[in-house]
Symmetry: C2
Subunit: 369 residues, 2 copies
């Protein structure tokens, strides 16, 4: 029998705090998910919600703190005032101490990432964390990363993103060997980035068992669902994500205008409303709420700050799936395998190449660490 | 009285060549635009279209060549086989020789950019050309550049993009002092790119007369129409453009599905079809067809390779407006002014700073050039 998933919940995060975090947790439980919650926050604000959600109360332990990171706190401020004592920090720390399997917060992204880095540290072989988004596509859903944790990426970091994104696709999208594409801007001669090209070469050479690298993809391929995982560095990834959200809301506004411009349009809307409700559901960003912080020794899910109860329940369900699939262990394994592949010199090199008889201590240490 | 705009038209470019380029030119004329065309291409293919479009024939001169750049030619191939003799090269060369005010081609982007750079060279003070796109927004239209001419940009190049984009906004959007934003990924501490930050500082300090710099914008601000001009380097700009196109087509597909799923939806569509036609028109990419190559000593408009007659006529109308507003002269003036602003040392520095008594010859040359 599978173990209960232990989720550390920052009950105070987001624009609405306990008002949506706790009903959101209760809604996730109603879907039959086997979760135990560790709730962090102000008990006087949390207890009333537990009173009206007895099923949630039954699977929760409450950890009181009256320190909460504000939505407008800068990362450095949040660390100064909230380290070790805020609901956000304590939620992450529960993962570090293995009291929880995963943490969920709707607090501000910068502060949450700063605390997650400080508390959990990066995994061996990963120099920087990334944020993965679940992107609705024509064919289903695609994992896109990095959508804004850090700017720029060398080839090795892009390969790490591919490995982590593929592990996440297995957990969340339920595909055995996810297809992976590197985001680029066309295949013409004048185009292309050196690091992206080098990463492409590396991914082909490594021929990793857990992912199917298909080559370059362009911005238009994301929404088309051409691949299960789209890999890019955080600046362009964030711009792609925000631009797509902006375009979707622009189209939504055009559609509302088109269906309310005159009586005929309104009658048309009346007849088509069921079909259009399906369209609305497909466009609903709440269905894919939850940015996943990857590359740290512990997984943290960032729920959108404006999320309502339903959106919160989705982020919690994503956390549940990720923990259930033991994403962290899978990433550790895949990264270790990939590092063996690249650090082992090819046969030809062993035969013909020279190795220094002895390395200075510091270099040895660095190679082993 | 204003002079006729002379447009050099690559009649052979694009997926359909003369079949859409010439009727497209004829359609532009029907809007009352005062254009003289220089047509470059195979006369046996062009003449039949002139026969059926006498108004076009009346304002056109035909320059025969049987060399055409193919849509799948790599830039280097195109230059090798088409330099000085292809319809694409000759169209650009007509601008260089001041036989035409502007060139329009639907040929492949890489080849067109390579030929434009080789033939026209960059303007003084600009080290690389850029491609500007016209982006439909909720509030109207926004100029976005660079959407893929080159990758990466230092602060000075971003400032040049701002100046060129603002000049284009004045010509195409008809705004006196366009608002300009730098594309970034949020204002949190951990975020931001050094070059983008430096460009922002520079734009604030320069306080240029012809543009209103408003600060950083995010991906979602493009479709919202927050500013008239969005400035970014070519990699993220291209990804933003392609991602937005992909999202728009994704939404379009959802909508078609929603309005054809059952009888009620189809009845709804029947009633709302006029309103929805307005929506379709707003989403029609043909309305903003035409990537503008900026930063060269001459302006070239790239029409989309798949463009139909209407899309071609739009690209030609954009070329007309750009030439009519003497975009090139405006950019030259604005760039010269901005270089004066930055090369003149601030007063404080003149008073307190030291200047070397004599510079080596080479340094003097470099500073003057």
């Amino acid at each position: 029998m599978m173990k209960t998933v232990r989720i550390a919940l920052d009950a105070m995060g987001g624009d609405f705090g306990p008002e949506v975090m706790l009903p959101g947790a209760a809604m996730a439980l109603e879907r039959g998910l086997d979760i135990a919650f560790l709730l962090f926050g102000d008990e006087t604000l949390i207890k009333p919600y537990l009173a009206v959600h007895p099923a949630l109360a039954a699977v929760s332990t409450l950890h009181h703190t009256n320190v909460a990171v504000r939505m407008d706190d800068k990362p450095s401020q949040a660390l100064r005032s909230g380290r070790r004592i805020s609901s956000m920090w304590l939620s992450i720390d529960a993962v570090k101490k293995n009291a929880a399997d995963i943490a969920v917060s709707a607090g501000n992204t910068g502060a949450l990432m700063a605390m997650a880095k400080t508390c959990l540290h990066t995994m061996p072989g990963v120099d920087r964390p990334a944020i993965a988004a679940i992107w609705p596509t024509i064919r289903g859903r695609t994992i896109v990363l990095d959508v804004g944790a850090s700017i720029g990426a060398d080839a090795r970091h892009l390969v790490n993103l591919a490995i982590m994104g593929a592990a996440m696709a297995r957990a969340v999208l339920d595909v055995e060997r996810p297809t992976v594409g590197l985001l680029n801007i066309g295949s013409e001669e004048m185009k292309g980035v050196d690091d992206v090209k080098a990463a492409s070469k590396l991914l082909r050479e490594m021929a990793l068992p857990h992912l199917d690298y298909v080559g370059f993809v362009e911005g238009g391929d994301i929404g088309r669902g051409t691949v299960d995982v789209v890999v890019t560095e955080g600046f362009s990834g964030n711009i792609a994500l925000k631009t797509a959200e902006g375009t979707a809301s622009q189209m939504g506004q055009y559609l509302r205008e088109a269906l309310s411009r005159d009586l005929m349009s309104k009658i048309g809307y009346f007849f088509a409303r069921k079909g259009l409700a399906g369209l609305k559901a497909k466009m609903d960003p709440r269905n894919v709420n939850g940015g996943t912080f990857l590359g740290l020794d512990g997984v943290v899910i960032k729920s959108h700050g404006h999320s309502d109860v339903f959106g919160t329940s989705v982020a919690i369900e994503i956390a549940y799936r990720i923990a259930r699939h033991e994403l962290l262990g899978q990433i550790r394994g895949a990264l270790a395998h990939s590092h063996e592949t690249t650090s082992r010199p090819p046969d030809s090199q062993i035969a013909g190449g020279e190795r220094p008889a002895a390395l200075p201590k510091s270099a040895q240490l660095r190679m082993d660490s």
